[in-house]
Amino acid sequence: MTDTITEHADHTLHKGEPLVEMTDVGKAFGPIVALEGINLTVRAGEVACVLGDNGAGKSTLIKIISGLHPHTSGTLKVDGKDVHFASPRDSLNHGIATVYQDLAVVSLMEVWRNFFLGSELRKGNYPLAPMDITAMREIADSELKKMGISVKDINQPIGTLSGGQRQCVAIARAVYFGARVLILDEPTAALGVKQSGVVLKYTAAARDAGLGVVFITHNPHHAFLVGNHFIILKLGRRVLDKTRDEVTLEELTSEMAGGRELAELSHELQGR
């Protein structure tokens, strides 16, 4: 399955070069501050893991990078240039592809229509030009086979696939369309152990092919398997920011579970 990635990955990527740099980025919805003072650098060939509990600001963070919500403070640079995304299309045009946990696919549409949604192949460049449906079916079918996803019929509605398969179709689609930065939003949250394994291997393969990956999760075990850099968010603020050498799985787990608060609570409970 790594063939797909190395084949479509951008060969101008150099391991370690910063692709996306966020400096002091924040997002306020009116008077409510959802995110504040975030510094995050996504480097080619590395996985940046963003961890946090529900409501920590993980989703807001990726929605800024993927262009669904513009940031309200700080700077966002892509390839060293200041950007301010107005729409997901802007972000895609910069090579940033996002795979969402909940809104990855349109379930009543056929697998091949989903695979090419928003990037359809056309037989001409005029309004109402017909799509190249034969080619789209063939490409979608062969790309999915390369990933080891068995789809009975490429014309079946994607809602008939399992959750893991749908997630993999969405990731395959992002990589196929030349993503340089891949944002995975809770890709393993709804999956079983085996299906999670497939997604994690695929994440590592994307990293090794030189893509910059942002891996959003609340599972420190999954994060530690693939991550190079870890950030933990809590209530919209960064509470931990360490590279793989500086941190242990125990530290991540404890910090995710509440860390200091948990220690204080334990002290309090034992003190009785």
């Binding site: 190395t6 669904l68 349109v106 009543l108 799509m131 009975k152 019929d153 809602g159 008939t160 291997k201």
Partner: protein, 350 residues
């Protein structure tokens, strides 16, 4: 370099693709219920109403179908795109009145009115679409508002301009003959004489189907109705698609409005009310889901054909025409049940 993480697909995990059987594929077509119903209704009237069997009466069935079917093409596409238009019935009359009143009062060439009313109809579609997209208020409420506003405007403006509730007769104006040839003439095919609206209806159905199934805009329509957040996230311009769909309904309302104007030479300002539901019923009977994301233009055409057969068939069979609405309601209920079944069948895991 990526060998440690490579997982070549195991042969046991990738069974050869299985082609679904023809029956199973047919069962998931959105229009299958409508086609079955159309065949049953055709056989029914063919059996009990002798006049139904003649070619001239088939021509009137086709004409009645086309008067609903033309606007139903746009309404079906809009519903697949996840929205709803209650103003389509009166927009038809608004377009016809706009053309008639402007040209008659200023004694202009009728084609000026034709173009002016096109702008009016597209404008109504644009306003509906823009308000739905910008406010996020359900299209049911937005278009219900435009429905009532247009209903009042149709009557009020006509009365203010002409002093009566109908437009003046425009058949003496320049350009009337050429416009009538395009919007309201009869075409002799040798064995049958049909109204030109039937030809236009088939053209619009073919064009609508082509757009829906063969172009990327069609892909975007399905996605906008099926899951607009997903669609937006992969770069589909959902607001433009929706505004475009409302304007498409506006265009077809204009077209049918022009037919009314050139067929009858003047327009009654109170017409059109209630037709919006007939268009929606044609689309739903044809397999469009009220929630969007699923349906077909060909299905809406079959839905309109069922409407045409029934309105005419009831007359040919000598039934009391008042039963027509009961039939329409029953058809709609049946269609909704069939659609629910088809949708569930299409989206269960296999």
């Amino acid at each position: 370099m990526s060998s440690p993480v490579a997982t070549p697909p195991k042969a046991s995990e990738t069974p050869a693709p299985v082609k679904r059987t023809l029956a199973s594929r047919l069962a998931t077509r959105p229009e299958i219920g409508a086609v079955a119903a159309a065949i049953a209704i055709f056989i029914f009237f063919f059996a009990i109403a002798p006049p139904f069997r003649t070619l001239p009466s088939f021509s009137t069935v086709l004409y009645a179908s086309s008067t609903i079917g033309i606007v139903a093409v746009g309404v079906a596409l809009l519903m697949i795109g996840g929205e709803f238009d209650l103003s389509s019935g009166v927009s038809v009359v608004t377009a016809a009145l706009a053309a008639a009143l402007l040209t008659f009062q200023l004694s202009l060439n009728i084609w000026v009115g034709v173009l002016f009313s096109l702008l009016v109809a597209l404008g109504i579609g644009f306003i509906n679409g823009y308000l739905v997209v910008k406010t996020g208020i359900p299209s049911f409420l937005i278009t219900l508002s435009t429905f009532f506003m247009l209903r009042g405007i149709n009557l009020g403006v006509t009365k203010a301009v002409t002093g009566t509730v109908a437009s003046a007769n425009v058949s003496e104006l320049d350009g009337f003959a050429s416009a009538k040839a395009i919007f309201a003439s009869n075409i002799d095919l040798g064995f049958i004489t049909i109204n030109i609206t039937v030809i236009w209806w088939l053209v619009f159905v073919a064009l609508g189907s082509w757009i829906l199934l063969r172009t990327r805009i069609g892909n975007w329509i399905f996605a906008a109705g099926g899951n607009q957040d997903s669609a937006r996230a992969v770069g589909v311009p959902v607001p433009k698609v929706k505004i475009g769909l409302f304007m498409g309904v506006g265009f077809l309302c204009w077209f049918y409005g022009m037919h009314l104007l050139f067929n009858f030479s003047s327009v009654q300002s109170g017409l059109g009310i209630g037709n919006e539901f007939i268009y929606i019923i044609a689309a739903v009977v044809g397999g469009c889901l009220l929630t969007g994301g699923y349906g077909s233009v060909a299905g809406a055409a079959v839905g309109a054909f069922i409407f045409g057969m029934t309105t005419q068939g009831i007359v040919f069979a000598g039934f009391d025409p008042n039963w027509f609405y009961t039939f329409l309601g029953a058809m709609l209920l049946l269609a909704v049940l069939v659609n629910l079944y088809v949708k569930n069948y299409a989206s269960t895991r296999r």
